[in-house]
Subunit: 330 residues, 2 copies
C-alpha cells in the first residue's frame, strides 16, 4: 500500500562547526543521497550558504524521477535560531550573527526553507523516527562539543522566550571548576561533554597520573587527545579513562535528573558524538538518576541512547520542514 | 461597551492543607463573594468535597441575579492531579489518593467542574490577571509549605508526562543537608520554602546563636515559630533572621536560575505565602540570578512578586474552568 502513495521528500541539512551533512528524507524517515562536506566557516556565511545550496542541488539531482517529490528544505545550525523568520541570530562556532539563512538559501534553491536550532532538529528526528518514536513527552540531549537539550511535548517542540529554552549545558554546578565560553564558571557542559571529557583527562595527566593516554601524546601535546581516545581507553581498562568517563556520566546524570524533575519526560534520549561511548556514559548517568530522582519520576522514566546518532539532525530538519511547508499550504 | 456584554462567571476553589478558599470570578478577573473555611482534611475526602459543594452553593447564592451567569467550577488541590479526568491522584497533605474530585463535586453542584494542581492554577491566575498578564512565556513559583513551579507557554500550561512537570522543590542541592518528605535528601524545598525558613532558624537557635526569636519561644518550644516571624525579625534588624532570609533567597535564586535556563521565560513570578517577605527574599534571589544566568537570559528576564498573592489560585481555577467549559462546548 505504502509504495503506491506518493510520498513527499524533504532535504535535511545539519550544519556543524566542522562539517555540513545533507540528505534526502522520505516521510517514512528513509535517508538517501547523503553528502558530507567541510563547513569552512571562516569563509563567511555567504560562502557557507552557497556550499549548502550546491549540496542541496546535488542531493536533489541524485534522486532522479523522485526529485519532483522534494517539497521543502530544513536546516539545523548551532546556536540561537529564530525559526519563525529562519534567521540564525548567533552561532559562536560558525561566527554567524543575524544570518537570514532561510531567505538566502530559499532564493538559491527555489524551495521553501526552514531554519532551526540543530539540537531541536536532532531531538525531533529521534522523536519522529528514532529512539523516542511514539512517545508523547520527550527530552533529548546531545552530548558533543557542548551539551544542550530539547523537549517535544505532545508533538510540539518547546522553544521558550527568545527561542532560548534548553541550555542544560549552562546550569552551574559548584563543584565544576572550569570557566565556560559563556562567561560563567562551572557550567555543566564544561565537564559533561566531549570537550569536558578531554579537559578532565588532560587535568589528570598534567597532575602526573599514569595512563595509556600518555603514549598518544609523546611530547605532552595534549591537543591531540579526543573524547573517543578517552572512551576507548576506558573500554581497554585504563583507570584514568574509566574514572573520567564515570565522572562525566555522573555529571550528565545530575543534569538529566534536574531536567527530568522540571520537564517530566516519558523518555530521555541521549545523542551526539559522545553518546557513542554508550554505557560508559549512560551507566553512571542511570545510577545518578536513581539517586537524584523522586520515586514517581524513576518509576516511569526510560533513559536510552539515540538510535540515529549519525543522521537524526538530517531526518529531523527534513521532516520538520515538510510539516511546516504543509501547515503553511506549501 | 464591556458592561453591555454578558460576562460569564466561574467559581474558583483553592483547596489547601489548612483552608479552602472559594470565590466567584468574572472573565475580567474581578473576584466576589469569597469564603474561607477550614479544610479539616482528617474527615476524609467525602466530607471535604461536601464542604466544597456547600461553599460553591453559598457563593453562587450570594450572586443574586448574576448566579445565572455561573458557567463552571475550577478546583485546585495540592499534589498530583490528572486534569483530563479531574482526579486528584495523590495529595500528601490532604491524605488523598485517587479522589475523583471533578465527578463528585460536579454531581453535587450540577455544574461542569475542572480539577487541577493548585500551583498550576495559581500561576495561571497570575498569567491571566496578575503580574504576568500579557506575557507569552511565564514561569511562576509558589514558595509556601513547599516549593513548585508551573510554566505557561503561549497561553498553554505545560504538564509533562504524568502531569508531573515543575517539581522545582525536588531538585537536589549537595549543600542542603535536610531530609525531604519525598525520601531524598537535599531537596531545594527543604530550605527554600516557609518550612525551610523555620528549619534554618531553629537550627541556628539550637546551635546557640542569639536572636530576638528566642523571646517568642521561652521554653525552647520552637514549634511556635513561623516563617512570618523570621521575615519580621529580618525587617527589624535581627541578624539571625536576616541571614536566614538571605540564604533562603539565595537558594531560591539558584533554583530559579536553573528553571530559567531550561524554560527560558520572559518573566518569573514569585508567589505563595513566603513571597509576602518581598525583597527580603527577592533581593538575594535577584543577585543570585545575576551570578548564575548567562547574559542572554539576564538581559530579557524580569523577576517579580505575584500581584494576587491571596487569590491567584481562585482566579486561575475559575478562569481555566471557564475556558475549558468553552472548549468542550459547555
Amino acid at each position: 500500500m505504502k509504495r503506491n502513495r506518493i510520498e513527499r521528500i524533504g532535504i535535511g541539512v545539519d550544519v556543524g562547526g566542522t562539517n555540513i551533512v545533507c540528505g534526502a528524507v522520505t516521510e517514512d524517515g528513509e535517508v538517501a543521497a547523503v553528502l558530507k562536506r567541510p563547513t569552512d566557516a571562516r569563509q563567511g556565511p555567504e560562502a557557507v550558504i552557497g556550499r549548502i545550496a550546491a549540496m542541496v542541488r546535488e542531493v536533489v539531482g541524485r534522486l532522479g524521477d523522485a526529485a519532483a517529490r522534494v517539497a521543502a528544505v530544513g536546516v539545523g545550525t548551532p546556536g540561537l535560531v529564530d525559526p519563525e523568520r529562519g534567521v540564525t541570530l548567533f552561532a559562536g562556532n560558525l561566527g554567524w550573527r543575524n544570518v537570514p539563512l532561510a531567505e538566502r538559501l530559499g532564493a538559491a534553491v527555489g524551495l521553501p526553507v526552514c531554519a532551526d536550532n540543530d539540537v531541536r532538529m536532532y531531538v525531533y528526528g529521534e522523536y519522529l523516527r528514532g529512539a523516542a518514536a511514539g512517545e508523547r513527552h520527550v527530552l533529548g540531549v546531545t552530548v558533543g562539543t557542548g551539551l544542550a537539550c530539547a523537549v517535544v511535548e505532545g508533538g510540539r517542540l518547546y522553544y521558550g522566550g527568545g527561542f532560548m529554552a534548553g541550555e542544560l549545558g549552562h546550569i552551574r554546578f559548584p563543584d565544576i571548576p572550569y570557566a565556560c565560553g559563556c562567561g560563567l564558571t562551572g557550567c555543566l557542559e564544561t565537564a559533561a561533554s566531549a570537550t569536558g571529557i578531554v579537559r578532565q583527562a588532560v587535568d589528570q595527566l598534567k597532575a602526573g597520573r599514569d595512563s595509556a593516554l600518555r603514549a598518544l601524546c609523546p611530547d605532552g601535546d595534549w591537543e591531540r587527545l579526543t573524547a573517543a581516545h578517552v572512551s576507548e581507553g576506558a573500554r581497554r581498562g585504563d583507570p584514568l579513562c574509566a574514572d573520567v568517563m564515570r565522572r562525566t556520566g555522573d555529571w550528565l546524570g545530575r543534569g538529566l535528573a534536574i531536567a527530568a524533575t522540571l520537564f517530566s519526560p516519558d523518555v530521555i534520549v541521549v545523542g551526539g558524538g559522545a553518546a557513542l561511548a554508550g554505557d560508559w556514559l549512560l551507566g553512571p548517568a542511570r545510577r545518578r538518576l536513581e539517586e537524584d530522582l523522586m520515586a514517581d519520576y524513576r518509576k516511569r522514566l526510560r533513559l536510552v541512547r539515540a538510535r540515529r546518532i549519525e543522521d537524526a539532525g538530517v531526518v529531523g530538519s527534513a521532516l520538520y520542514a515538510l510539516q511546516r511547508a504543509n501547515l503553511s499550504g506549501g
